[in-house]
């Protein structure tokens, strides 16, 4: 159901990214939702680790003297500050340039100019997070109800926090203020397995062709339909197979055997793919069925 809305969003977040070898990698930027989710995961990990460490320290040093406990409390509080800043920086300086949250969402931090991601950039983008998020938040929580701050200023501060927080939604590259300053952006880099190629079975050498299509029958569709057909064949969902097979049979005026929907679609896919790819080699492309080949 999200299929229709998903495609334009994916294209909107696609960016040209030409490597030194001159090939465009067509990077996909991380969406605001993925970024937010990654951040929530990271925060949960940090808070969890912090509280766990606190609990362990509390149990281990339960019976030690007050001076030791006081010192430990200081260490623990300062460690909180170090953790908050060090976590992001240490992970983003790593090989994958991503925190565990970003890894889970298949994101990675990349320099916008295509060069290497420098240490300064990582540090700058994460220090800005301190300004964008943690400090205003601490300020809001600690200052609520304090005599020196009236309610109006408190809401003004809240507005500032919201501006920073929602900033990625108001620019097309989904940049945080930190990304803006550091010259980075966050891209979606999924790991993909190479799937079996569709139509492998239909083209097995030595097999008798069960379906033979005329040129006119193959001229009915273009690349867009071919790729949709590929998706259907990969998904192997019975209902869509039936619906799609019926639609294609109707359009091309098929009169041959019509009992094996999957076999029919696979054969048609292979034949159509071959025809379109041959056209490509001669520089003739057909984007979809509405365009004349």
């Amino acid at each position: 159901m999200t299929e229709r809305r998903h495609i334009p969003a994916a294209i909107k977040l696609r960016r040209e990214f030409v490597t030194a070898e001159g090939i465009d990698l067509r990077l996909q930027l991380g969406s605001a939702g993925e970024r937010a989710m990654a951040f929530v995961i990271d925060i949960s990990i940090m808070v969890g680790a912090y509280l766990l460490a606190g609990a362990i320290l509390g149990v281990v040093f339960k019976s030690s003297g007050e001076m030791t406990q006081q010192t430990l409390l200081i260490v623990w509080l300062l460690a909180g500050f170090a953790l908050r800043n060090g976590y992001f920086i240490a992970f983003e300086l790593g090989m994958r340039a991503a925190t565990p949250g970003k890894r889970a969402m298949k994101l990675r931090v990349v320099a916008r100019d295509g060069g290497r991601l420098t240490g300064e950039a990582v540090i700058a983008r994460n220090l800005m997070r301190e300004l964008e998020f943690f400090l205003p938040l601490t300020f809001l929580f600690s200052s609520w109800g304090e005599s020196w701050l009236d309610v109006g200023s408190w809401f003004a501060a809240l507005a500032v926090v919201l501006v920073f927080l929602l900033f990625p939604l108001f620019n097309k590259d989904r940049l945080r203020v930190g990304d803006l300053v550091a010259g980075t952006w966050v891209v979606h880099v999924p790991r993909r397995e190479l799937g079996r190629s569709v139509g492998e079975r239909a083209t097995r050498p030595g097999a008798e062709p069960r379906y033979v299509f005329t040129d006119a029958q193959l001229a009915a569709y273009g690349e867009f339909e071919l790729q949709k057909l590929e998706e259907v064949l990969r998904r192997q969902d019975d209902l869509s197979l039936i619906v799609v097979a019926r639609a294609i049979r109707g359009r091309i005026g098929w009169t041959g055997p019509d009992t094996d929907d999957y076999g029919f679609l696979e054969a048609y896919y292979t034949a159509l793919c071959e025809r379109l790819e041959r056209g490509m080699l001669f520089g003739k492309r057909r984007a979809n069925k509405h365009q004349q080949g």
């Binding site: 409390l73 509080l77 300086l93 240490g119 300064e120 998706e231 379109l276 790819e277």
Partner: protein, 335 residues
């Protein structure tokens, strides 16, 4: 070659011909991403760029000749991963950390020396002005120091109250120390962040910090406690005020870069100033942690004025030596 073979999709044949290279590249990338790069033989390391370029070439061939969407998407993802591993690598975190202390931080601090001078001057001007104002009319004191900060240390306070405030240990030592750290960090970060408003709020905050100090002195000096107050402040204050001055300098740097971008675009100028300032600020965090520890623990434990001043002065000299005198070890080029 029979007619049957020809009818096989070109994508299929392409996969068979090149698939082995892709699989090898993929397994190498997996190893590297799991941090096992050191286990790769030198032969494999030499092969990596070759496989990467082969995959890129496969990608551009596939885009032009194949309609197999799965294949193209796979090659895009593989090439992208390989690209970032080959071109995005950098030194391990610990070496980077060493580099920060050995070179990057002092270099950034040296780069903002002019702004640092201005920031220190602003604090001094604020301090002198406030001292003179409060000495001439004590009611000025309340303009500089709020009730919650004064805690009874005002012009009407007795010698005993003031003396006590310098040597007594407040309850909850640790919480106090970390509160101080958070408070100072907040001051420093505001100094930096408001640099974006052309540095005006930063300048005001620096002067205000100086004013608070000057006002305190104006209260303590007439009671004959000037030297003791200096000791009380110096033990951590040299580090803390230096840190705040550096934060202010970082803020001023950004403000000036936005106000007077020169040949660069305003935005590019802000970004390059932001890099230097970010580096300075990272160090400011370290300094404030040191200052917080000295203030929260050192000052409560050590009550001798001379030792206090010696520690404060020693810290200042160490910072100055570290930032401006010790030669930088550049080491490897920027990575």
């Amino acid at each position: 070659m029979s007619a049957r073979d020809l009818s096989a999709g070109s994508g299929q044949r392409f996969r068979e011909a090149r698939g082995e290279d892709w699989a090898r590249l993929e397994s190498m990338l997996d190893d590297i991403e799991r941090g096992r790069a050191s286990q790769l033989t030198s032969g494999e390391l030499f092969e990596l760029p070759v496989l990467y370029r082969a995959t890129l070439s496969s990608l551009s061939v596939a885009r032009e000749t194949s309609l197999d969407a799965d294949l193209v998407a796979y090659l895009e993802s593989l090439s992208t991963r390989a690209y970032f591993i080959l071109y995005g690598v950098h030194a391990p975190f610990w070496r980077r950390l060493m580099r920060f202390f050995a070179h990057d931080w002092p270099a950034a601090v040296r780069e903002v020396w002019r702004e640092t001078g201005v920031a220190v001057a602003m604090i001094v001007v604020g301090a002198v002005a406030a001292y003179l104002l409060v000495r001439s009319d004590p009611s000025w004191y309340y303009a500089f120091i709020g009730d919650d900060l004064a805690q009874g240390r005002d012009p009407s306070a007795s010698y005993d109250t003031l003396h006590k405030s310098l040597y007594d240990t407040p309850d909850g030592l640790s919480v106090f120390a970390s509160w101080l750290f958070a408070h100072n960090a907040w001051v420093a970060i505001r100094c930096f962040a408001f640099g974006f408003a052309f540095g005006v709020p930063t300048a005001l905050m620096l002067v205000e910090t100086g004013c608070m100090m000057g006002a305190f002195f104006a209260v303590f000096v007439p009671k004959g406690l000037g030297f003791q107050l200096a000791g009380w402040l110096a033990i951590h204050g040299t580090t803390e005020l230096f840190a705040i001055a550096l934060a202010g300098a970082a803020g001023l740097r950004i403000g000036m870069a936005i106000a007077f971008p020169g040949r660069q675009s305003r935005f590019a100028s802000a970004v390059s100033a932001g890099r230097v300032s970010g580096m300075v600020m990272l160090g400011v965090g370290v300094m404030l942690a040191v200052a917080g520890t000295l203030e929260g623990i050192g000052r409560q434990v050590i009550t001798n004025d001379w030792i206090r001043i010696a520690i404060g002065g020693g810290a200042l000299i160490l910072w100055l030596l570290y930032f401006y005198v010790v030669p930088l070890r550049a080491g490897t080029p920027r990575d």
